[in-house]
């Protein structure tokens, strides 16, 4: 390889043209590059330290880690619960988020649209501990009666097999709370995409005699499709990692079940860590960290996929 081929593009070149480099410039660019690299290091560090602290649990004999049958069977129900709660939340939140984004960008009077956006963003500002308190205090009791109805009338569906919880601390409520929590982030990303729909395409369909909804179907939704997918995955990532709300709301008994309305639920990884960590010592801590590592890996994958989808859209729309 030639020596010159390793030179970074443009910046390096422009800089070398401005020949004698000032010390100030060198220090400043060094500092800012260092900060950027530090972020990569931190991210790598997160992975490395988690692996280091999880390692003792991974190699420990099955009877030393908490739970009856070794670490895999300890983490699996938690992972299941995590995925179940998150997907359920997404199922509830995604359509609502799209509708909200549409409302703000294409239905609300323009004068107040921005303010409405802020109001939805406030939902995101409320700390998760407060959603937890609200979930158990307000939402859970509200669901007791409907859950009983579901068990009686739709009990043949495994999701509603019951017996219905009398406290409302069910998977359904956990998912509802999570849905409220991820709604703002999902709708914010979708909203941004909808807002950028080229006016040209909207006018093209309106000029063909489309109603507002037909215009949205022809111009807005196709344009925002990959953003909707990406935003949903972002929301999924949030829901997977959400801790306190689930820790407070969900009543856990450990089994793997799709039953959404009973009080015997699988926990989630994040909530389980929050609940167990303060009282744990020794290998139990390592086990919890190992479960955190699994959560980290899952959310990392989901988030990377989400970002890839959203960024691809960005390039696509730039080319238009």
């Amino acid at each position: 390889m030639r020596k010159g081929s390793t030179v970074l593009p443009s910046t390096e070149r422009t800089r070398s043209r401005r020949a004698p480099q000032r010390p100030g410039d060198r220090v400043f660019s060094g500092l800012s590059t260092g900060a950027g690299v530090l972020i990569l290091v931190v991210l790598a560090g997160v992975a490395a330290f988690l692996v280091a602290e999880a390692w003792p649990a991974l190699i420990a004999p099955a009877d030393e880690v908490p739970g009856p049958d070794g670490i895999v069977l300890y983490i699996w129900p938690l992972l299941f619960g995590t995925l179940l709660a998150a997907f359920l939340a997404l199922l509830i939140a995604a359509p609502l988020a799209v509708a909200i984004a549409l409302f703000i960008t294409h239905y609300a009077p323009r004068r107040i649209a921005q303010a409405l956006g802020y109001i939805i963003d406030l939902l995101a500002a409320i700390p998760s501990i407060i959603y937890g308190l609200w979930g158990i205090q307000v939402l859970a009791p509200l669901t007791v009666e409907p859950a009983g109805w579901l068990e009686e009338n739709l009990g043949f569906i495994p999701l509603f097999a019951g017996p219905a919880s009398t406290t409302g601390r069910t998977m359904l409520v956990a998912a509802l709370v999570l849905a409220v929590m991820i709604l703002p982030i999902v709708s914010a990303v979708v909203r941004e995409a909808f807002r950028q729909t080229p006016r040209l395409h909207e006018e093209a369909s309106l000029a063909l005699g489309a109603t507002r909804w037909e215009m949205i179907r022809m111009a807005v939704l196709p344009f925002g499709r990959s953003s909707i997918i990406g935003a949903s995955m972002l929301g999924l990532g949030r829901a997977l990692g959400e801790t306190m709300a689930v820790a407070i709301v969900l009543s856990v008994s450990g089994g793997v079940t799709f039953n959404l309305i009973s009080s015997g639920n699988p926990g989630t990884i994040a909530a389980n860590i929050a609940l167990e960590f303060p009282e744990s010592t020794g290998i139990a801590v390592n086990t919890l960290i190992a479960s955190g590592l699994v959560l980290f890996a899952v959310t990392l994958l989901v988030n990377m996929a989400a970002r890839a989808v959203i960024n691809r859209r960005r390039e696509f729309s730039g080319a238009n």
């Binding site: 009077p109 323009r110 004068r111 080229p198 040209l200 395409h201 006018e203 093209a204 369909s205 309106l206 000029a207 063909l208 005699g209 489309a210 109603t211 037909e214 022809m218 111009a219 196709p222 344009f223 499709r225 238009n320």
Partner: protein
């Protein structure tokens, strides 16, 4: 099915800002009417009132009457959606739907109407529209490719095909060639001359030669003064406007551009 348009004393507002004042004109069917004038005098604004696209801008409204044949476009009970169905529009920059194929772009307007049309019928309409837009030969082998893959001139003709697929009575064009190269411009101009046997065409253009070449009637818009609304200064046979305009401002504008 080409329609006559009659505008009576139209004032056009953006909120409180009076953009265009007191326009009256008759646009004859099966002819090309060109609207010329300096930038910002309200040609686009006026054009967009003819298919009620103007009111999509929040706070925008009009005062006055616009008749298509004998129907008042702004009459009570008139649905702007139906107005736009009958008065097609082509925009300054070609805007085919990027997520749709060429075929779907042309069929888009028909699909809107419920789409209870047999596939073969729809095929016919798409082909006929693309032929009318002089595009068929170039795209017939790639109807299922995205419309955004075409060249600028082809895209604009695709947009024209899309507009005429629903058989509108009137076709509005807002500087349809200003984003195109001379060859594509030529193609669109030829197309306009062909289309005027079936349609009423209104075109806004900055290009004086173009107005002279394609239009039968030319209207000259001008600003009454700085900060004043735009107005229609005069409208007449194109040959008359370009040879012996009755208004001094028109003459200045035309000769200035030509000189």
């Amino acid at each position: 099915m080409a329609k006559r348009i009659e505008v009576k004393d139209l004032d056009i507002y953006y909120d409180k800002f009076l953009a265009v004042q007191g326009v009256s004109m008759t646009i004859q069917p099966r002819s090309v009417t060109a609207l010329i004038g300096p930038s910002g005098c309200g040609k686009s604004t006026f054009l967009r009132t003819l298919n009620r696209m103007h009111e999509l801008v929040p706070g925008a409204r009009v005062d006055g009457k616009v008749f298509m044949d004998d129907e008042d476009l702004y009459g009570p009970g008139v649905d702007p959606v139906s107005v736009r169905r009958q008065i097609g529009m082509v925009f300054q920059r070609p805007n085919p739907f990027p997520t749709m194929s060429i075929y779907e772009n042309v069929a888009a307007g028909i699909r809107l109407n419920g789409g209870r049309m047999k596939k073969s019928e729809l095929d016919d309409v798409v082909e006929r529209s693309l032929r009318s837009a002089n595009l068929w030969a170039e795209v017939k082998d790639r109807l299922n490719r995205p419309g955004s893959g075409l060249s600028g001139g082809q895209q604009q003709r695709l947009c024209i095909a899309r507009a005429i697929a629903v058989q509108p009575g009137v076709l509005l064009m807002d500087e349809p060639c200003s984003a195109l190269d001379p060859i594509s411009t030529q193609a669109i101009e030829d197309l306009m001359l062909e289309l005027k046997t079936d349609y009423t065409i209104v075109i806004v253009t900055h290009n004086m030669q173009q107005a002279a070449r394609v239009s039968d009637v030319t209207g000259f818009f001008n600003l009454r003064g700085v900060g004043q609304p735009g107005e229609l200064v005069e409208i007449d046979e194109t040959t008359k406007i370009f040879s012996t305009p009755s208004n001094k401002a028109t003459e200045d504008y035309i000769s200035g551009r030509f000189g």
